[in-house]
């Protein structure tokens, strides 16, 4: 591929910030004075109370690529986007951008609350660099995309946050940029609109390079061909999105701090929760059997119960669930061992924990729940892109 196709290039980009507000005022003043007299840059050293918000970040993004930018809170994602967008100057290194850049760092920046949606379309379009004629040509499309036909002549201060986002994204989607920078924007908006956004982004992606910032790994794995993980300002690139996501989950993992949580109304009790016979830290191989077992005892007034077992991933998404059969489990008066047997586990290799709930089968109220119990690990060849792995066989045959 030719060099022409590299639309975003970062070479050793660093950016420093100051932790103390008073000091930062002083530094800003001296930096300003230096830049005025043309004194040589001194970006290389950290002064007191300063730290690198970005340190030596280098990567390239080509046309047609969507790069996921992930990392814990405060890892430098938004700072990096602002440097790419030219809002902030790097302190070291060099950023080269080719073509028209559109950044959705905050949707609706520049919206005026008192003006109507239509008026704001014109203003926001102009802010993003569209001419009046261009906007006039696209305004109906924008309104249709945002699904705001009824509300477009209402002041935007009466919009819901979802409507705000829809309008902002609809305007940006009409920009036809070469480089698109997206900062955590699909978080709001209902799933239907999100699907439209994906469609629009894929449409843009055919002709553009996209950088996509999100904490929602489901979005990242769907959108991005590869990811950059930022950790305290340092960047690490993963060609394999799945590996990047696992590294991200490791970097934000606080499971050591989160213990198991439980609640019971006194009518049910469970003990000895096991995964394949082990209380914690068990390793299960992808495609092999999985057994979840525990001992259940019930109060005499409860006749039948339903038991639910959930598998929760580190992203806090419940990725699999099982519910005991229709009739429920009868109360025999004594302690019973309940076992859920899964013949072939199809959870993608990652770390998971269990959640268990017990309901009264007749009155449907919750008797007991356990959260975050029995952490276990799934191992196997595949990497974590989606929470489940299809355990299929591939066949290849010549055709014709």
């Amino acid at each position: 591929m030719s060099d022409e196709q590299v639309l975003i290039r970062l070479e050793g980009v660093s950016k420093k910030f100051c932790r103390s507000f008073k000091r930062s005022m002083f530094y800003a003043g001296t930096d300003l004075a230096q830049s005025l007299v043309g004194a040589p840059p001194r970006g290389n050293t950290l002064r007191k109370k300063e730290f690198w918000a970005l340190e030596d970040v280098s990567f390239e993004v080509r046309r047609g690529e969507c790069l996921g930018l992930i990392g814990a809170n405060g890892a430098g994602k938004s700072t990096l986007l602002k440097v790419l967008n030219g809002i902030m100057q790097p302190d070291r290194g060099r950023v080269t951008m080719r073509g028209r850049v559109c950044a959705l760092i905050e949707l609706g920046a520049g919206f005026h609350p008192l003006l109507t949606g239509r008026e704001n379309i014109y203003i926001n379009g102009a802010v993003l660099g569209l001419s009046k004629a261009e906007i006039a040509r696209k305004v109906d499309e924008i309104i249709a995309f945002a699904e705001l036909e009824d509300a477009i002549d209402t002041p935007v201060k009466y919009y819901s946050s979802g409507m705000y986002v829809r309008l902002g994204f609809a305007i940006a989607a009409q920009m036809e940029p070469d480089v698109l920078l997206l900062d955590e924007i699909l978080a709001v908006g209902d799933p239907g609109f999100r699907a439209k956004c994906y469609d629009a982004i894929y449409g843009i992606l055919r002709n553009a390079a996209v950088i996509f910032v999100s904490h929602a790994m489901a979005h990242v794995s769907r959108m991005c061909g590869n990811v950059v993980l930022l950790d305290k300002g340092k960047a690490c690139r993963f060609q394999n999105t799945g590996e990047g996501i696992v590294a991200y989950l490791d970097s934000v993992d606080r499971s050591a701090l989160v213990g198991e949580m439980q609640y019971s109304n006194g009518q049910a009790e469970i003990q000895g929760i096991r995964v394949n016979g082990a209380a914690a830290g068990e390793t299960v191989v992808l495609g092999e059997p999985l057994d979840v077992s525990f001992d259940l005892s019930l109060a005499p007034e409860v006749q039948r119960v339903t038991v639910m077992v959930l598998v929760v991933a580190r992203s806090q998404q419940a990725v699999a669930a099982a519910r005991s059969g229709d009739g429920g489990i009868a109360n025999t008066g004594g302690r019973q061992r309940i076992t859920l047997h899964v013949p072939a586990l199809c959870l993608s290799p990652e770390r998971y924990a269990l959640a268990i709930a017990v309901f009264d089968a007749a009155r449907l109220n919750q008797l007991l729940w356990y959260h975050n119990v029995c952490p276990f690990r799934v191992e196997g060849e595949a990497t974590y892109v989606a929470p489940t792995t299809l355990l299929g066989n591939w066949t290849v045959e010549p055709v014709g």
Partner: protein
């Protein structure tokens, strides 16, 4: 071939004099945005008020009536020694002064006003300054209506060269923009500077022959020379009354000063902006 943009530390400084070309090109490219932002602020400003544009005029009339009353007090008659009828003179002078002060305040406050836009969107921020300065200019035009009425009432007929007044007023706008841009940047770093300057400018109306005629005696005459706003105001009154400039040299000095202020202010604004964006 796609346009290539490079961001480097001190990239702006390295550009040297070439940066001026880009500054002007940006200004032209984003003129439409400036107009839109101006219209946006204007409509938003009057959308929540019934009396609307009347508010641009009321304070002016109140101040002038107050001074009319004060000048009628015994011992203060000297105030009334203005080149033409006091009320017309003071109303016009105040209009010009407010144009300057309003433009300065608008320019200085435009970055703070633009908050989220400064932080989140990459566009030439001079657009914000330009758009903000549209408001005081608009107010000035609205204030012309009572001024014209008062001039007619007191039979002050301006000479025809008064049509050049818009050109004579340009230095005021240049100065306001230049100082405003510098102050706008400094305000984002430390508020104190702006507060002090704002306070001093409050007295400025006293140091400009707005509510009194231009002093003729030493040392008060310094007000006409050292205050760069005075020559402009005096020049407009000369044009209205005599149809020619009384002291073109001081006006020229003032104009030169204003162009310098604009140049320095604008350049400073450009260089400082990346630093400003960090501070929001």
């Amino acid at each position: 071939m796609l346009p290539v943009t490079v961001y480097e530390p001190w990239g702006l400084q390295r550009e040297g004099w070439r940066i001026w070309g880009r500054m002007f090109r940006d200004l032209v490219a984003y003129r439409e945005l400036a107009v839109r932002l101006f219209v946006r602020d204007l409509t938003a400003r009057y959308r929540q008020s019934w009396l609307g544009y009347v508010w641009a005029v009321v304070p002016q009339l109140v101040i002038v009536s107050a001074f009319w009353y004060v000048s009628s007090l015994r011992g203060l008659e000297a105030l009334r020694e203005t080149p033409y009828h006091y009320i017309a003179y003071a109303l016009w002078g105040l209009g010009v002064w407010q144009l300057f002060l309003g433009s300065y305040r608008a320019a200085a406050g435009s970055l703070q006003q633009g908050g989220a836009m400064v932080k989140k969107i990459n566009f030439p921020k001079e657009t914000l300054v330009l758009a903000a300065m549209g408001q005081p200019l608009f107010d000035f035009l609205v204030r012309l209506i009572p001024i014209v009425i008062v001039f007619a009432w007191f039979r002050v007929l301006p000479c025809w060269p008064a049509v050049f007044i818009p050109i004579v007023l340009l230095p005021l706008l240049f100065m306001a923009a230049g100082f405003g841009m510098i102050m706008g940047v400094l305000n984002t770093i430390v508020m104190d500077v702006g507060n002090v300057v704002g306070m001093l400018l409050g007295f400025g109306v006293m140091l400009t022959p707005v509510l009194y005629g231009p002093p003729q005696q030493w040392p008060l005459v310094l007000v006409n020379i050292l205050n760069p706003v005075s020559p402009v105001l005096i020049a407009t009154n000369d044009l209205i009354l005599h149809g020619r400039l009384g002291s073109p040299a001081t006006l020229a000095m003032s104009a030169l000063f204003s162009v310098l202020a604009l140049g320095v202010g604008w350049r400073f604004f450009r260089l400082a902006l990346p630093r400003v964006a960090e501070r929001f």
